[in-house]
């Protein structure tokens, strides 16, 4: 879908149509400007321009300096970076084989696998958190089964950094698979068959034929996952440890429990900064896709 040519359907008068169009899109556009663009600019400005010791507003980096000198804040940032990176890698390792399988397999089994891969989209994170605790938590289902088989207990990932990690991977499987599948759709059956015809085995087909075309989709999937995981709140809050915590729960606590808006907003700007490359890349991809089609 591109924003292509408009149809003639609204009549032959073309003057005055510009005004009606603008009026109709006014409210959503104003909402985006007021609630997305303005807050971002405001966040950066208010954290850089604050009252100093005399009470007058001046350019200052004090909240940023605080963040980067505070051990606790840095530990949270590090945890977030670690979780995001590891999640991204695990997601790729898990979803790429699934996507490859779905691309080339047909039949009811493949349809069932696809349905399963998409299913987490229909499970809200809250229910996922609860299910996680009931299965992997203390005295959870895994414990019960291991006990029944007289096997030793494993330590529960609940309330450790692994908790949110597992949950976030589970949550992001559907969209990652879908994005990779859409990217694989560009690889034609014919090109794969031609490669096999000249003697390429499965691995060579993947490495030389599929991967080059898939590169962009992988980057898009990773960017999308990073943007979602870096500042995610629900799963880390419920499943993760109290300290260190991920940026999401950290920001929430700073803002609501500590009533410390300036520092909370600083943390938000810092997370913008860490994600900016992925964010720009992702947006550019979407825009290019929308433009290039239809």
């Amino acid at each position: 879908m591109t924003l292509g040519a408009t149809s003639d359907i609204v009549g032959t008068k073309t003057q005055g149509r510009g005004l009606i169009g603008l009026l109709l899109v006014a409210i959503p556009v104003v909402l985006v400007a007021w609630m997305v663009i303005y807050p971002i600019i405001s966040a950066v400005v208010t954290t850089l321009w604050m009252p100093d010791a005399n009470g007058t507003d001046a350019f200052t980096l004090k909240t940023y300096r605080f963040f980067f000198s505070d051990g606790y804040s840095l530990a949270n940032l590090q945890l977030t970076l670690w979780t995001t990176a590891l999640c991204g890698i695990i997601l790729l390792v898990v979803c790429l084989p699934i996507a490859l399988y779905l691309r080339f397999a047909k039949g009811r089994l493949a349809a069932y696998v696809q349905g399963l891969a998409i299913f987490p989209l229909f499970v809200p994170s809250i229910i996922l958190s609860y299910a996680f605790i009931r299965v992997l938590g203390p005295n959870g289902m895994v414990d019960i089964i291991l006990n029944a088989m007289h096997l030793p207990k494993i330590r529960t990932p609940y309330l450790t950094p692994w908790g949110p990690l597992i949950g976030l991977v589970w949550d992001h499987i559907p969209l990652t698979v879908l994005i990779l599948l859409a990217g694989l759709g560009v690889v034609s059956d014919a090109s794969v068959e031609a490669a096999r015809d000249v003697g390429a085995g499965r691995f060579r087909v993947f490495w030389n034929i599929i991967l080059p075309k898939l590169g962009n989709s992988i980057l898009v999937a990773v960017s999308f996952a990073v943007l979602g995981i870096f500042s995610s709140f629900t799963l880390p809050y419920v499943l993760g440890p109290a300290a260190p915590e991920m940026m999401g729960p950290f920001m929430q606590r700073t803002f609501r429990d500590l009533y410390d808006a300036p520092n909370a907003i600083t943390q938000a700007v810092i997370s913008f900064f860490f994600c900016i490359v992925f964010g720009l890349f992702y947006v550019r991809s979407v825009v290019k896709n929308q433009r290039g089609r239809g």
């Binding site: 510009g18 807050p39 089994l109 879908l178 994005i179 943007l227 870096f230 913008f272």
Partner: protein
């Protein structure tokens, strides 16, 4: 890559079976466990299955006032947000799809701006603004923040729907005498209808489950079902309440699954995410 014609013996799809088994375990099994808990009157460790099944906790959960209050809050929030979003976004979608006006492309793509930033960070930035507007802890503050989350899909999906209506059908209607407004009502809207309905349904469901904005802006005065669920997880020693609430909470998603599943499985949905 299925071979047709003569096949000596059907090949067994080992990889597929492996994926199916693993994914069933990982995805379906946990939900089955929750479902079992919801119908367990008594389930004490280390039993593999509940000692006693029953509906006791269903009665108890539905008798709780905080549960009902959360249900009404969630539904009224989701309905308000979806209604306002539809009224505000659908005419805009039609304008983007069919009318010519200055900055059309730029404004259309401006809706993706929010996706470039980590979501909760953005919410905190918005919360900073809300603080000075005294919108923290209010119903309409939560409506506003959830509304912004709906804009992208309530505009882009209907635009695609409007643009895919066969122009010849509209021309044929004008040929038999329909005015442009009548064409929109009798031809364009019914043709674009199913996709737009799917978008509205998805918006309702997503708003219903929206946790982060509601928590950041609304808690504790405005308590939605997801927020109540979190408090059950953290503070509630009786396991079954959470299980029953999970099952109740899953209902809207179940309906979305029934009606929007085909839309989501199609390639165009993922391409909307930039694939």
């Amino acid at each position: 890559m299925a071979t047709e014609g003569f096949v000596a013996r059907p090949r067994i799809d080992w990889i597929g079976i492996a994926f199916a088994v693993v994914l069933t375990l990982v995805i379906i099994f946990p939900l089955l466990v929750v479902g079992t808990w919801a119908f367990a009157n008594v389930w004490r460790y280390p039993n593999l299955v509940p000692q006693e099944f029953g509906l006791r906790y269903w009665y108890q959960t539905l008798a709780r006032p905080d549960v009902w209050q959360a249900i009404t809050t969630s539904i009224s929030l989701a309905v308000s947000v979806t209604a306002i979003s539809a009224v505000v976004c659908l005419p805009a979608a039609f304008a983007f799809a069919r009318l010519q006006f200055p900055f059309r492309s730029l404004l259309f793509f401006s809706f993706i701006a929010g996706q470039a930033f980590p979501k909760f960070g953005l919410l905190v930035a918005i919360a900073g603004i809300f603080l000075s507007l005294n919108l923290i802890g209010t119903f309409w503050g939560v409506v506003l923040i959830q509304l912004v989350g709906t804009l992208l899909y309530m505009i882009w999906i209907p635009v695609a729907a409007f643009q895919s209506v066969d122009r010849r059908m509209e021309e044929a209607a004008r040929d038999v005498g329909a005015s442009p407004l009548r064409v929109f009502w009798s031809i364009t809207l019914p043709q674009a209808g199913p996709t737009i309905a799917a978008a509205v349904l998805l918006t309702f469901v997503n708003t219903f489950y929206e946790t982060e904005g509601a928590w950041l802006i609304g808690a504790p005065q405005v308590r939605t079902m997801p927020i109540l669920m979190i408090s059950f997880i953290n503070n509630q020693p009786v396991i079954q309440y959470g299980a029953v609430l999970s099952v109740i909470l899953w209902l809207p998603s179940f309906f979305a699954l029934l009606f929007a599943r085909r839309v989501i499985s199609g390639g165009s949905f993922a391409r909307g995410f930039g694939a």
